[in-house]
Point group: C2
Chain length 650, copies 2
């Protein structure tokens, strides 16, 4: 009798972790321990068995027994550890164990004092004998002996208590479980996918720089070879990822001038996002930056210093991009034959043509776009920051990322989408490893708390990994403009301790904070449109703090995790106080959010819940200072160093 | 070009209301207004249109335009009203409105002061002309004229502001929306089912009685004809549903005696749940109760008095049931040929054989079980109380209820499953109209509040309708045993005001509260096993309160709804205080939970949130007393009448 002709009894539901019932991948990292839970139940009192089946895509499934952890809620669990990078999936099977059900019924009757159990014995004997018959060729000698003993006992043992002991021995129960027919087996569908990234998918300090602005001559962009000179300084600050805006040839037609003026002056380098000219498109390196070999050398040199490269990929073209001539069918044409440039009316971006994802030739376009990624992967790039993904079809990203990661599971994608929440979440669901966030605009205590609680405990944490940038070439927040150096220190500590992945855009460490005009979040003399020369050791820089914070992060497992955040009470609305914990490690972090004044307060540590004694030592990892703390503690924070990162000594 | 060859852009998600993404029916009633919400968005700034499509199963889908109600969250809504009883479904379609998108872009350019818009005009003209071509045969004269005027304007109007006015007139936008190609239309799948019950699915006061115990002779069961005499008295108490335990012939083999003794004495009537003997099975009426015609007459007489019958169907058989002989293949057989009786070891129910839902002949069994329901429906029964559904396969119930309701959409099913929460929820999901609940065991303020909040606002309210029984033939709670008359009044008011569907088992109104032994929830001399004769007007009965409470319920829309409950603060843990509101109607209900002592407290009414003035009049619907209330109010409740049901006079 096939299993389908059997009556279905078992329900498997509320399977977790899962995103949209398994439609999208849960995000985890290699080494993570996954505990799968499910509600599994059936009609009647019969005993259920359940197994978790899991595997890396393309490999054989492993089986893990599930255990009932909360009988009152029919809640079962099993765990496994992700060993490999890539797409995994798991499912659950469950079936009725008729022998164990029979043993339990037998137990209750024997314990209840029943002595006339002949019918029951025959029923048990039938189960055992049927199993002996079924498994005659497959059972081990030990199992076969156990089953024979059980049958013999059921036929002739007089003492019911002793018989029950014999029939309920674990080895026999297990043998019967293995060898019986699993006639009503059900399998949860669809299988639930989990993507295991390498650790960098979750943890890393990013530093964004324009490679052309790493030199000393304001009239000439620096090359990759020249830019290499600054790598040790960046590595010394403790960054793990070096993130570069587009490095391709820049268009000449409608090139933007300094401070985003419509007409470029001779010598203006143009925006790196106006990609492509006669020297090449997305596959090419800007000649002033050097050759592909120079880029590869830069990647290698950064790697030697412990940093890897993240490359910005903007799927758009300058009017001079080779594709405009060679593949006009990949662009939008107006009825009069003109190409549509990018606009956000009344603003025009005449130096940029968007690609037409509705093109009839989009199969070829998609293949060409995929090829760009393959090419840069072959040149050593394993992290891509995607410019404006929310202006391209979501299905395209799901296909692209899935396809690339199938052959390169270690590749990471960061979505630069600043738009409404549903689109940002959907991009994260369809495959983006990390996402930009609203962190830059959350500066008050309550808004920080509300936003972080949404990110870490609303379900978002299963698939949405924010990358907390404290600034970007497009966003110099008013808080930094007006708060000066203390504001930069505050935002650095917040970004670096609230999120395991965070970043700064170069100049942040120098506390650069002059906007192009009041009320704007754009930088004055933005290096998006010109070559910049900086004194990287300018007075009042906060490189010491960047270095210290990144060093603390590298030694703290708690700061390398995201959903282990808990806000704690502080009596001053200018001081935010939170705990990060992992295993035995416990950090207590207090930050003064007011860059203009010192503040003090009482912070509360729930010592009982956190398993702390009434008094315990804490060490400020930023300064080395040590204190004895208890449940309620006095904190005073000065703008000169507006944070404590306190390690609890247990 | 087919829609499938088009690039997909639009995402429709977070569609509500829906149970498990449309796997199971949302429960509503005829007349209910359904507001469907969804998150609908796409890449880029293009304008989206969306329609809600809904229908009663088997009828043509109606279309309702959806509107964006929260642009920041891409949240759309549309509403419709359920006019018919039965299974409905809805889905959502959405597409890009290219003309509206173009008009919006044109507007922003014109408003931004751009004057050179020749390319844009040609683009708009192409959209309009393509639409004229497509719709030449289908467009109305008015639409065709509008389109021609638009095309003409795009060709020759000089004044851009006036042209924009012409192109953005609502009639034109609407015509273009209708007549344009909806090339990237997406449809949400799967369609979301909603079951619309008649109002009785949500609202009704139930009275359970044993028809054999309605007479005056303790040595002889009363017949339906005799039982009719008591119907006016029950109707006068205000009940809407009269619920009868099984009325079939009762087995003789292993018949249980009084107080559930193992051996019946001559004349003992046996348990009605031991169904079937030589006189017939589930299709038959117990001869002492009368004929099928007598039953039909009883149903009709109850109907004349405003009550309908709910019949208990227990899918199990006494050893004497005709099926045992005629269909032995529908039962469990031990290897020695004996039939398995029902057990909950060490307890035995030797008077009952369970049916074997795993039988090889279960197709025939299922058909026979279905036939039972059809038969009783033909005899006037539209409500079935199902005994122990959790001991039968869940799939069976999904099939049975779906199949019956397809031809009898007005039929209601009540699940009598007292088991763990996952099974109780699953039975409600697969189709049971109503469910028994844990209400009987929730007597303290906090446990009542926590349980009611779970039932009314955790998502359960979309599919799980509890029927709050204050007692049952199986459950005489210790609270009633020890609390006496005040406890009965308290539990009556709680059941009748916390849930629109509630019930009592006869004897409750007489405050019968003697258990078979201390610590048991079983009644002494339970009428499950013997004929009972009662004085239905015994002293100290609370029929006056039952009548008054049921009258209040009939006149209160707020008490006929379930998820309109809100607990409010009271300063005494013995007094529970809550509001029920619907439209302008607002009830404030305070109940003393301590049957032994009077209590007083201050209750808080959030006047501002509830739209009340600082002072307002309230009328106790139980007593007619009137008070002037404000935000904080003094309440004293005595066990002699332990509740206020206050109607707020606005």
């Amino acid at each position: 009798m096939s299993s389908q002709s059997k009556q279905k009894h078992i329900v498997i539901r509320d399977v977790a972790p899962a995103i949209d019932q398994g439609r999208f991948c849960v995000k985890r990292c290699v080494g993570d321990h996954i505990t799968v839970s499910a509600c599994i139940f059936r009609d009647g009192p019969e005993v259920i068995r359940a197994r978790l089946l899991w595997s890396l895509e393309g490999t054989e499934r492993e089986r893990v027994p599930m255990h009932k952890v909360n009988p009152g809620l029919d809640l079962w669990e099993a765990s496994f550890t992700l060993r490999d990078c890539g797409r995994h999936s798991y499912t659950i099977i469950a079936w009725t164990d008729h022998y164990a059900s029979w043993v339990e019924e037998f137990r209750r009757k024997v314990m209840g004092g029943r002595t006339e159990l002949e019918s029951e014995r025959k029923e048990g004997l039938m189960l055992v004998e049927r199993c002996i018959e079924r498994s005659s060729s497959s059972a081990s000698n030990e199992d076969a002996a156990l089953l024979r003993q059980a049958a013999e006992g059921l036929r002739s043992d007089k003492d019911l208590n002793a018989l029950y002991e014999k029939l309920s021995q674990p080895a026999l129960i297990e043998a019967m479980e293995r060898l019986q027919e699993h006639g009503d087996l059900v399998q949860y569908e669809p299988a639930v996918p989990i993507y295991a990234d390498r650790i960098r998918g979750r943890f890393g300090a990013w530093y964004e720089l324009f490679p052309r602005s790493q030199g000393q001559d304001p009239n000439r962009g620096s090359s990759f070879r020249e830019a290499e000179a600054r790598l040790p300084d960046i590595a010394a600050m403790g960054f793990e990822v070096l993130y570069l805006p587009p490095i391709h040839p820049i268009g000449l037609t409608h090139r933007k001038g300094r401070n985003n003026t419509l007409v470029a002056q001779p010598g203006d380098p143009g925006s790196p996002w106006a990609i492509g000219n006669v020297e090449g498109g997305h596959e090419a390196v800007h000649p002033e930056l050097g050759t592909v070999e120079d880029f590869v050398h830069y990647v290698q040199r950064a790697g030697e210093l412990g940093m890897e490269i993240a490359l910005d990929i903007a799927l758009q073209c300058s009017p001079d991009h080779p594709w405009v001539k060679n593949h006009p069918e990949w662009f939008y044409h107006r009825p009069d034959g003109t190409l549509k440039y990018a606009e956000n009316p009344p603003k025009k971006y005449e130096d940029i043509y968007p690609l037409n994802f509705d093109s009839e030739a989009r199969a070829e376009l998609f293949a060409a776009l995929r090829e760009i990624f393959e090419l840069w992967i072959s040149r050593g790039v394993k992290i891509f920051r995607i410019d404006n993904p929310h202006t391209k079809p979501i299905d395209f990203w799901e296909w692209l990322i899935g396809d690339i990661q199938r052959s390169h599971p270690e590749v990471l994608f960061l979505a630069e989408a600043f738009t409404r929440p549903p689109m940002m979440k959907q991009l994260a669901k369809v495959g983006f490893t990390q996402s930009y966030s609203y962190f830059t605009w959350r500066n008050g205590k309550e808004e920080l708390r509300a936003y972080l609680e949404e990110l870490t405990s609303s379900g978002l944490q299963e698939f949405y990994r924010p990358n907390f940038f404290a600034n970007t070439p497009d966003i110099l927040h008013a808080y930094l403009q007006h708060g000066g150096r203390p504001a930069f220190m505050t935002r650095l500590v917040l970004a670096a301790t609230l999120s395991p992945t965070y970043g700064i855009y170069s100049g942040f460490e120098l506390c650069e904070n002059v906007p192009v005009r009041p009320g704007s979040e754009e930088y004055l003399d933005s290096e998006k449109y010109e070559i910049k020369v900086r004194d990287w050791d300018a007075p009042d820089n906060i490189k010491f703090l960047v270095r210290r914070v990144n060093e603390i992060r590298r030694h703290s497992e708690a700061l390398q995790r995201f959903d282990n955040l808990r806000f704690l009470p502080s009596s001053n609305e200018n001081i935010i106080f939170y705990a990060k914990s992992w295993g035995e490690e416990l950090l207590l972090i207090a930050v003064n959010l007011d860059p203009h004044h010192w503040h003090d307060c009482t912070v509360q540590v729930p010592v009982h819940e956190l398993g702390l004694p009434p008094h315990y030592g804490v060490e400020d990892l930023l300064t080395g200072a040590r204190y004895t703390w208890s449940e309620h503690n006095y904190v005073r924070l000065d703008p000169s160093l507006p944070a404590h990162i306190l390690l609890v000594h247990r």
